[in-house]
Structures are given as structure tokens and as C-alpha cells.
């Protein structure tokens, strides 16, 4: 065990901050928040180096969101080479089970111990190099993946922090509370709470509908004395950017970032990132 820990700590010794994106509930936008967080950290400085690790092993969404779902991970003498979303600049590294699958429709049917092994390899065998931020996108719940992460990252605990994502409805807030209890149980500092999918602006008449209610996140943050990082409305442009897949340019430019910067969410997220850094 001591040996495994050094493998992870050695590999992550040049990673300055590790941010876990958590939420008890599924489909509240963990992956989209992780992607946006990574993109905004990436643009925060012309030299910022960011990594995204997708530990949602049975439902990886990150590759699709960055339009790299047709790419693969390479093996090198110095470990696995992550996929770089920004091509030759190589400042935005992505690692996900989705990049290891031959066929994107293949299911990964794994019980806990195998998931645990994969997560350990993601942390100890991937050539992350120097990173300012490593954003870790997690699956739903508080189970194997989360416990494994905390266990393997124990050696770098001082650099860990978490962001909790929720949607405004009661059902999601309840799961977010469970998630908060988890962070307290494992002594993980929480940077703050983001309320996602808060309101939807009708593209036709501009009326705001609270598709999944509103305000619940701010209320929870106040009650639990968490920093409230902000609300993000449902943004169809963002859905299109993250769902669009490969932009077909193929010339090594980062087209997805350009399209993202034009969305309304990008502006809102900038403020969130200022609070986080």
C-alpha cells in the first residue's frame, strides 16, 4: 500500500491543485461543470496547464463533450499519454475510460474492485506532467469511485478540494446534502456550491421558466455555511457545444473553446472561476 501511494504522489507531484466535482444526484451537470471549469481555468492564463480526469467509468461523458471521442490514449515508456483537447499546445489533458474503449457503444460492466484498480492506474500511470489544475469529474453517489479516489489521493490530501453541483429541485438537493456529508466524513474541503439548470429562457419570447424550480442551491449554501459560487441557467447553446462532438476542423485548433466562449454560460462561469481561484 505504501508503495502504491508513492506511485500516485510521485506522478502527481507537479500538480498544484486537484479539484473534485461532486454531486449526489445524476444528470445535474457534473461533467458539463467539470468541462467548463477546465476551459475557464485554461483561459485564465496563457500558460495555464489543466487536466481533466473522468472517473465515471460506466458512463464517461467527458470525451464527447470535448469532441475527442474518436481519439485514443497512447502508451509510452513513461506511462499513458492523455489526449490533448487543444492539439499541439498540449495544455489541456484529458483522461477517461471512454478513450480506452474500442467501440463507444461498449459497456463497461465492472464491480467495485476493478473500478478501484482503474482509478489507481489513472492516477499513477498517466503522464500528467506539470499541471496547475487537475479537475476530477466523478460519477453519481458516494460509493466505490469516491472512496477509491480519496484513498489513492490520501498522499496529496493537502492539495485536494471539491465543488458540489446541484439542481434546484428538492430531490437533487437531498442528494447534494448526502454528498456534503460525504465530504465532511472524509475531511475534504469544499470550495463551494453551484446551482445548475436554474431557469430556462424561452428562445422565442424571453420568458424565464423555472424548469427544475429555482433558488434551492443558494438556500442550501446559506444553511450549511458553504460558499455559493453562482447559478447557471439551462443554456441550449452550451448543450449544443458540449453535445456537438468533433468539429471536423482537424487542424489541431481548439474550435470547441471558441464556440464555448461565445455562450452565455461562459460569461457566467468566468465569475465562478474567479471565486474559486
Amino acid at each position: 500500500m505504501a508503495l502504491q501511494e508513492t506511485a500516485v504522489t510521485r506522478r502527481l507531484q507537479n500538480v498544484k491543485h486537484i479539484i473534485l466535482v461532486l454531486s449526489g444526484k445524476g444528470g445535474v451537470g457534473k461533467s458539463s461543470v467539470s468541462s467548463q471549469l477546465a476551459l475557464n481555468l485554461y483561459t485564465s492564463s496563457p500558460t495555464a496547464r489543466v487536466g481533466i480526469l473522468d472517473v465515471d467509468l460506466t458512463g464517461p461523458s467527458i470525451p464527447r463533450m470535448f469532441g475527442v471521442d474518436d481519439k485514443g490514449v497512447h502508451q509510452s515508456s513513461n506511462g499513458w499519454v492523455p489526449v490533448y483537447a487543444d492539439g499541439s499546445s498540449a495544455r489541456l489533458a484529458i483522461m477517461s475510460v471512454g478513450l480506452l474503449l474500442k467501440n463507444k457503444g461498449d459497456s463497461v460492466v465492472w464491480r467495485g474492485p476493478k473500478k478501484n484498480g482503474m482509478i489507481r492506474q489513472f492516477l499513477s500511470d498517466v503522464r500528467w506532467g506539470e499541471l496547475d489544475y487537475l479537475v476530477i469529474d466523478t460519477p453519481t453517489g458516494t460509493s466505490d469511485e469516491h472512496l477509491s479516489l480519496m484513498e489513492h489521493l490520501a498522499g496529496v490530501h493537502s492539495r485536494l478540494s471539491a465543488i458540489i453541483v446541484t439542481t434546484p429541485q428538492a430531490v437533487a438537493l437531498m442528494d447534494a446534502m448526502k454528498c456534503l456529508s460525504f465530504t465532511r466524513a472524509v475531511n475534504l474541503p469544499v470550495l463551494g456550491l453551484i446551482e445548475n439548470m436554474s431557469g430556462y429562457v424561452c428562445p422565442c419570447c424571453g420568458e424565464i421558466s423555472n424548469v427544475f424550480s429555482t433558488g434551492g442551491g443558494a438556500e442550501m449554501a446559506r444553511r450549511e455555511e458553504l460558499r455559493f459560487l453562482g447559478t447557471l441557467p439551462v443554456d441550449t447553446e452550451l448543450v449544443s457545444v458540449l453535445d456537438g462532438g468533433h468539429d471536423g476542423s482537424g487542424d489541431g485548433t481548439f474550435g470547441m473553446l471558441d464556440r464555448y466562449s461565445k455562450t452565455r454560460s461562459a460569461k457566467l462561469f468566468k465569475d465562478i472561476v474567479l471565486k474559486v481561484c
Binding site: G24, K25, G26, G27, V28, S31, T58, G59, S61, M65, D69, K104, G105, S107, V108, V109, W110, R111, G112, P113, K115, P139, T140, G141, T142, S143, D144, H146, L147, E151, Q169, A170, V171, M174, D175, M177, K178, C179, L180, S181, F182, A185, Y200, C202, C204, C205, E207, S209, N210, V211, F212, S213, V234, T236, V239, S240, L242, D243, G244, G245
Partner: protein, 327 residues
């Protein structure tokens, strides 16, 4: 003479003794009893003897308990937050509207149980009797079991690895006094992992009638559903059909329909065509669905004139003949 049996203790999930070491490879694993982590574990001898790899001794009990259940339907989806629990609840309510139909709902989402809230019974508790744990009844023909009923407060997180989750799922099937049921609906968490493998394994002998797959229109969700289809085919579960949730949104202001989650790759319709799976229907996004779930009331009963209600009922009617026609 009445034989009095001592009631089975209801476990307190927060205090279930975990005498397994942290790195337990799992009792069914090849390494059971032989891995480094097993050294010093109380169960090492049992695991190493191979006894744990034999068929689960609880299977006969489980089969007996399930023999009174006519139809077992899984509600699956690779993706989270697409409306599995909401659909399960609506389906349950629709079945239970016929007072001769006995319906059971089992929530195997151990880390994020939503069923108790959606059904408006979050403050209930499970009681034990000589015949097992009594499920919570929403109405006299609708029984519900969820780990949510066993937690002291809704804030408590269950931080369990796979084997403990599997143990509880097995108990839900074997120790709960379900009685005779026409339908048992199983609401699952997202993904294709422990919970899914376990439920399939435990119900193999009793037979699963099929699975309903829930998705939303965008490609990110469809990708996960493709994986779930692959899973169903691997383990041999019949897929009853596909339901597309959150399909279009009608603005309450101007009544124009817009697509929040754009079907950039053709949505569930294309997926259904590609895979040869029947598309049961598409349910539009209605903010009142989420609100009904938060308040624990039946959306179908509260808003019978919503287009979403019509969509739900069409799906349910087309797929599930009433039990009177079954008999």
C-alpha cells in the same frame, strides 16, 4: 398454537458491521481469501475454501419470496438524472390506479434514493414482522422499499462499496414481505455496475420480464444508453422499449415548443431505429413534473390535461396490458 418467531432485525445502514477489510477483493472474486488484503480478515478461511463462490445459499429463499410476483420490470438508463425514478413512480401510480392490481416498487439506488421523496413517503420507516420487513405502503395496493426508509436523516450519506450494496439488495428481495404482486418495478441507479449485476444475478432464476430504458434526447445521454443496451444484451435481459424524457419544452408564456436538450444525433428515435428497439414514446419537459416529484404527489393525477400526462399514459397503456387481460 401460534408459532411466534422473533422478528428480523432491520439493519441500521450506518452501523452494519463491516468486518471485511478495506481492500476486500469481493467474496466471489478469484482472489477471495488469497489477496494481500485478506490476511487477518475474519472471513479469510471461508473465502479461501471456495464456499463463497458456490451459488448464493439465499437464492432459494429469494426465489420463494419472488414466486408471488407475476412481473418484474427494471427501469434502467446509463445516464443519471434522465427521469428513471420519476418514470418508475408514474408507472407505479398508473398501475395502482386499478385497485385490483398489486404493485411493488423497489429502489436499488443505495447512495441516492429518490423514490421515497417522489412518492411523498420520505418520513416513513420500515417495520419488521415475523414474515419479514414490511414495505411502506403508499396506498393499500402499492408497496415500496428503499434504503431511504432506513436512514436516521435524509442528510446521511451511505458510503458503501459494492459488496455491502449487493447484500442489501439481496435482502430487499428475500427479507421484504412483498406478498403477492402483479408488478414489481425496480428503480436502478445510473451505470452498469454492482447494483445492476446483482439484481440481474439474484433475479435470474425467478426471471425478469424486461427492462425499460429511459433517455434524454442529447447525444451525451444516448451514448450512455447505448452502453446500457450493450449491458442488457450481455446479461440477456429483454428490452421492453425506450422512453425519451425531457423531449422538447413548451414555454408557458408563448406556447412555443423549443428543444432544451437538442437531439443533435437524431435523439431516441434514431437510436431506436439503429438498434431495433421499440420507442415507446417521448415525454415533453413540464416543470410541473419536477415540482410534483418534490412534493411527492402523482403528476398524472394532479395535471391530467398536461401533454406530458398524455404521453406517459400512452406509453403505459401501449406497453402494459391491465392485469385483467393477463389473467
Amino acid at each position: 398454537m401460534v408459532v411466534v418467531q422473533s422478528p428480523m432485525a432491520i439493519p441500521d445502514p450506518k452501523s452494519i458491521p463491516s468486518n471485511a477489510p478495506e481492500h476486500c477483493p469481493g467474496t466471489e472474486s478469484e482472489l477471495a481469501g488469497k489477496s494481500d488484503a485478506c490476511a487477518g480478515c475474519d472471513n479469510q478461511e471461508i473465502c479461501a475454501s471456495g464456499a463463497t463462490k458456490l451459488p448464493d445459499p439465499s437464492l432459494p429463499f429469494l426465489k420463494q419470496r419472488m414466486s408471488g410476483v407475476k412481473r418484474k420490470i427494471l427501469i434502467l438508463s446509463g445516464k443519471g438524472g434522465v427521469g428513471k425514478s420519476t418514470f418508475t413512480a408514474q408507472l407505479g401510480w398508473a398501475f395502482a390506479a386499478d385497485e385490483d392490481t398489486q404493485t411493488g416498487i423497489m429502489d436499488v439506488d443505495i447512495c441516492g434514493p429518490s423514490i421515497p421523496t417522489i412518492l411523498g413517503i420520505a418520513s416513513e420507516q420500515v417495520h419488521s414482522s415475523s414474515s419479514g420487513w414490511s414495505p411502506v405502503y403508499v396506498q393499500d395496493n402499492m408497496a415500496v422499499m428503499s434504503v431511504g426508509f432506513m436512514l436516521p436523516t435524509s442528510k446521511d450519506a451511505i458510503m458503501w462499496r459494492g459488496p455491502k450494496k449487493n447484500g442489501l439488495i439481496s435482502q430487499f428481495l428475500k427479507d421484504v414481505d412483498w406478498g403477492d404482486l402483479d408488478y414489481l418495478l425496480v428503480d436502478t441507479p445510473p451505470g452498469t455496475s454492482d447494483e445492476h449485476l446483482s439484481i440481474v444475478q439474484y433475479l435470474k432464476e425467478s426471471g425478469i420480464d424486461g427492462a425499460v430504458l429511459i433517455t434524454t434526447p442529447q447525444e451525451v445521454a444516448l451514448q450512455d444508453v447505448r452502453r446500457e443496451i450493450d449491458f442488457c444484451r450481455k446479461v440477456g435481459i429483454r428490452i421492453l422499449g425506450l422512453v425519451e424524457n425531457m423531449s422538447g419544452f413548451v414555454c408557458p408564456g408563448c406556447k412555443t415548443e423549443s428543444q432544451i436538450f437538442k437531439p443533435s444525433t437524431g435523439g431516441a428515435k434514431r437510436l431506436a431505429e439503429e438498434t431495433g428497439i421499440e420507442l415507446l414514446g417521448a415525454v415533453p419537459l413540464d416543470p410541473r413534473i419536477g415540482k410534483s416529484a418534490d412534493y411527492g404527489v402523482s403528476f398524472l393525477d394532479e395535471y391530467p390535461d398536461s401533454p406530458a400526462t398524455t404521453a406517459y399514459l400512452d406509453i403505459i397503456d401501449s406497453r402494459y396490458p391491465s392485469p385483467s387481460t393477463i389473467n
